[in-house]
Symmetry: C2
Subunit: 355 residues, 2 copies
């Protein structure tokens, strides 16, 4: 299945909303660009994608998205360099993961060309919406949901695939304090935790609210069986530095295989940092915090990029992570954003020029 850019129909918005936007004070994911990609699945196949004005969606009350949570999504960013060229970061990995998620949720997979050519057409049309300010970018949200009808718990026969864009600033205001969760869980063995399925996120809201009430910003999930092993955060994978070794848990069917995570692993290795991908127990982290070998913790994900963690709560006790100069977190953040924004060479071939 191949669709050239010229094949993607474009219906332009009558007027732009861009002049209402204050690009110097962008929040995260709350202002939307003028257009979106729209593609419908019906009669057993994805129909031709179209770029259309960003506009409301009308659905029957029995559309399965409202009842059975049949939805998946992705999160990406577009960047502009000094020459106004547009770049993406490893976009094919997002397309692949979208389809991995879709398969687990019984949603039909989207052809590569629909995703990539659709996205490129959209970005070129809305290129003015890509912020140039450091720390800002155009957050891109591809998502698919069940539009087929009926109060019967079975996969829908119709779906909508949309890509929408939101010029965005930082995800977190500063360092975050996290709570290592001992009661609630994010995902089951044999479940959908490895997928970017909508339901995985709603399930985190209540435990996160409880953590926020206790003074934390994020929850660090542990395995649902023993609560002894660190899994990941709400929208970030977790890295832990003990002495000079950088450790992150292995991916599994419970954990999202983050693109930032795997990039950090490679970037750290290229810097000569010792990296271990292995199960890491809460007890090891607590012991390291107590004996002073816990140097850093940080989250890694597209939205937050690298998010340094100032400390964690566990079993009623709070552990601070002392301030450090020249952190791995800041080094990794510089390395990855320099590649993303075309400020340095890209020996890995991760940067993708939109043209």
């Amino acid at each position: 299945m191949n669709t050239a850019v010229s094949d993607i129909e474009v219906i332009k918005a009558k007027k732009t909303k861009i002049h209402d936007v204050d690009f110097d004070h962008l929040s995260f994911g709350s202002t939307f660009s003028d257009h979106m990609l729209e593609c419908n699945y019906k009669d057993g196949k994805w129909q031709a994608p179209k770029v259309v004005p960003y506009q409301p969606i009308t659905l029957d009350p029995s559309a399965k998205i409202f009842h059975y949570g049949q939805s998946v999504f992705e999160g990406m960013k577009a960047y502009k360099d000094a020459k106004n060229d547009i770049y993406l970061f490893r976009p094919l990995d997002n397309w692949k993961r979208l389809n991995i998620s879709s398969k687990r949720l019984a949603i039909p997979e989207v052809p590569e060309s629909y995703f990539m050519e659709g996205l490129k057409t959209l970005l070129k049309l809305d290129s003015e919406w890509i912020p140039k300010k450091e720390g800002s970018s155009l957050y891109i949200r591809p998502f698919i949901f069940a539009t087929g009808k009926g109060f019967h718990a079975s996969p829908a026969n119709e779906y909508k695939f949309i890509i929408a864009c939101a010029p965005s600033g930082a995800y977190f205001a500063g360092k975050v304090k996290v709570l290592i969760e001992e009661t609630y869980s994010r995902s089951a063995n044999g479940g959908v935790g490895f997928a970017k399925a909508g339901g995985n996120y709603a399930g985190q809201f209540y435990p996160t609210q409880l953590a926020v009430e206790k003074g934390y910003q994020q929850v660090i999930w542990t395995d649902d069986n023993t609560h002894e092993y660190i899994e990941e955060a709400g929208a970030m994978n977790i890295f832990i530095r003990i002495n000079d070794t950088l450790i992150t848990g292995p991916t599994s069917d419970r954990i999202l295989d983050g693109i930032t995570r795997k990039s950090i692993i490679e970037l750290a290795k290229a810097e000569g940092i010792a990296v271990e991908v292995r199960k890491i127990s809460v007890h090891e982290v607590v012991a390291a915090a107590k004996n002073g070998s816990l140097k850093e913790m940080f989250g890694a994900g597209t939205a937050a990029v690298i998010s340094p963690i100032s400390g964690f709560g566990y079993h009623g006790e709070d552990f601070d992570i002392p301030e450090l100069e020249n952190t791995y977190a800041s080094l990794m953040k510089k390395r990855i954003t320099d590649i993303q924004t075309n400020k340095c060479e890209d020996p890995f071939g991760w940067r993708f020029k939109v043209e």
Copy 2:
């Protein structure tokens, strides 16, 4: 908070669709009645509910239901007796469970009066839609989903609560053959399995499709840690009869606390049947199938009522459950439907007359 029936605004449909419906050949949940209850949460509270024509819903592409699966639902039925009086079955339990689900999904709870008075107003207006044919009923779907906007994984600030109705026939055509699942799981310890959260259902579709390809109609879920204990089916709790004892697993944070299940437990006890609520291992069921003491298995849920199971697959082997006369399944089905449809006394006080 109290709302009398007279307080619920009603906007009537211009014309009825009822003449297009073949009430003798109803499928399940695919035809919708003329009206629905609609209630919006905004500015920190549920606004006044209204009964309006069944009609499409328009949402922003960034509405959180599309991204984060923040939704819950219920399933109920309305019945008509010979005198055309309308009955519900334990409706307050559905309202309570809706709020239990909502709490876990960080959705604001709905006041009892909005739910009950709204439902009664709707049912009286659409009373012609309640089938009288044996085995048919008006399936009622209360549901709530996040309408608030934004690409930020956090609870929405706006929601929609709807009750829609579908005149429906049987959920399953006949006996079902089930697969006891050994790889995939429905829910995690500390997760949302006890809630009727949308995402719990989407996660079951793919494993169920795999089971269907192997010739089974339904999956019996087991615990995600060992896959050794029977949990429940996609939309039914499970009962197992070994010799003359009726066994069902205990509820937990992984299992939906079914209203049919708890009614069956009481009905069976009232019949003098020995009932055990305890963990039941797959090995015990397999051993019972082999030595002939496994007399029956059946599912219990609002949609399917009582669904007899003809056999199960486990670990590559198929086990048939021999036909039996005078089953507990048929006795329980008669007892519960007689109460539901006002064909007998209701010593439990479960029947609820809509007036």
